[in-house]
Symmetry: C2
Subunit: 334 residues, 2 copies
Amino acid sequence: MTQAKAGAGLGEFGRIATYFRPLAVGVPGAFDLTDDAAVLDVPADQQLVATCDGMVAGVHFLPGDDPADLAHKILAVNMSDLAAKGAEPLAYSLVMALPRGTSDEWVAAFAAGLGAAQRAFKINLLGGDSVSTQGPLSLTINALGIVPRGTMIRRKGARPGDAVFVTGNIGDAALGLKLALGTLAQPVPDADRAYLVGRLRRPSPRLELVASLRVFATAALDVSDGLVGDLRHLAAASNVGIALDARTVPLSPAAARLVTRQPELLSAVLTGGDDYEVAFTAPAGKGDDIAAAASSAGVTVTRIGRVTEGPVGVAVLGMGGVEMPIGQGGWEHR
Amino acid sequence: MTQAKAGAGLGEFGRIATYFRPLAVGVPGAFDLTDDAAVLDVPADQQLVATCDGMVAGVHFLPGDDPADLAHKILAVNMSDLAAKGAEPLAYSLVMALPRGTSDEWVAAFAAGLGAAQRAFKINLLGGDSVSTQGPLSLTINALGIVPRGTMIRRKGARPGDAVFVTGNIGDAALGLKLALGTLAQPVPDADRAYLVGRLRRPSPRLELVASLRVFATAALDVSDGLVGDLRHLAAASNVGIALDARTVPLSPAAARLVTRQPELLSAVLTGGDDYEVAFTAPAGKGDDIAAAASSAGVTVTRIGRVTEGPVGVAVLGMGGVEMPIGQGGWEHR
């Protein structure tokens, strides 16, 4: 955290010492964030897995969002990538571009949220940078994980005959976004609203399933851009087709209630993104083993389709097994 | 490069494939930037060194700056941290927040500059993310390096009796910034202007000296916030005093001409920052060995002071050995 300075009040160095240093105590080589770089050991039989994601106010979140929610989300989004790749979290770094005048209170709440999130995800802060900006708040996390050598799960590797699985429920965040933006026509019970918006703001990376994914998955990615769009990425990388049975896509009770009353919302569910679930392929005969592993990890896993010889891409099957006209899919942040 | 999408024209995926994929061919585990994460081997006897820096338009560079210069600088700034820590570059990731409407031509020029810089620094792209922003251009690099186990050079470790050294010349960038901003009173020959602004825009990380630094340095950091301010960091971490002889601080001919005509510029030279040279301490008796190593690496190294018992901090000695009243020093980007 050496480069540029941001904010008033405690100042950059004071903020680091007060709010961020406690987040780094679990990494001896982070040197309490007092040096220019951190040093890390990677066990000899392991490989490093690296991923990064950026989020910008006004594009990926709403400017007034709770700082603790933002902290949870930016870390969760990166942990979701590690989980989908079969990697155990190792450490992460954070770069913040803070609008001038960001208060110490905001930074304190953000750091507290980050602390809670990193305890939940069993990862610690390695280092970072804090700079000021005349523009919107912008957050970048670089996450490092480890896998036993040669076991990182790729998008590539799905084989015809494999089954397609997904963790958790799909569509909650897309519906939660509509609720947060006020663009949903129908009235929604408070509890359903809280649940759906909560899923948007505090996604649950499926780290509990990492070891099982390494055993069973032939290909995997996390569902960030939308189920259909992300499965298209997987299909393209694996050079296969995917037949996705929309009727089997797992919905939460809150999402199911909304879609039942307003069936056209199914398209948002299937393409809306921000789910941060893991979609993966595995040999069809492993379904029972996967169900057992998922149950013991406390994560639901649902079979939602099958891998075909092609054509390369995703066919979405709806009522009566008829193919649904789902467009490009994938959520383009514009 | 999976998360959010930015820009028009080729679109995010097209830009990655066209401009950034070629930058990742040197890292097999980057999978041509087609997966959600990259995988890297760290040799068994080595440790990973991680550092990151962010830069924001309007704060760290001027909005109209040449994209190839920006690419050079954001990578160089991170390489400078690795160099000061004694680490060999391994790979880096890049997160860009691009203003809406950023043209493909801009991205192409940025990527070309990045390609030239990474060839110069012998490092390759590992992965990244590209997002759009309603605010200014913002760039973040996370750089990974390696060191033999236990050899990362800390800020801590300087001992009374050590000599203080610095690579290259100090103050060029601070004077270059004044020229770029038009805040320098005196007229400056075109060649001097070009040299000084060039040093601001295209710093030279001292990677050639990495192996020698690991052998000789007891403590080190890169000079990014200003020589005096950064030496204060080193003195504080090492719990020592530093007597910096301002008369021995190495100046380029262009900087020397300016300071000679306008002696008050010496303060800007000593505290202005953006030098990206390495300041380090080493046993005083190793001066000849260090000079020989520097000469063979093609980097100048100058002895600029000595480490004392204290008080903790930096005393700057000027003409006649009288202490100069240098204030807080360190360049605060506000």
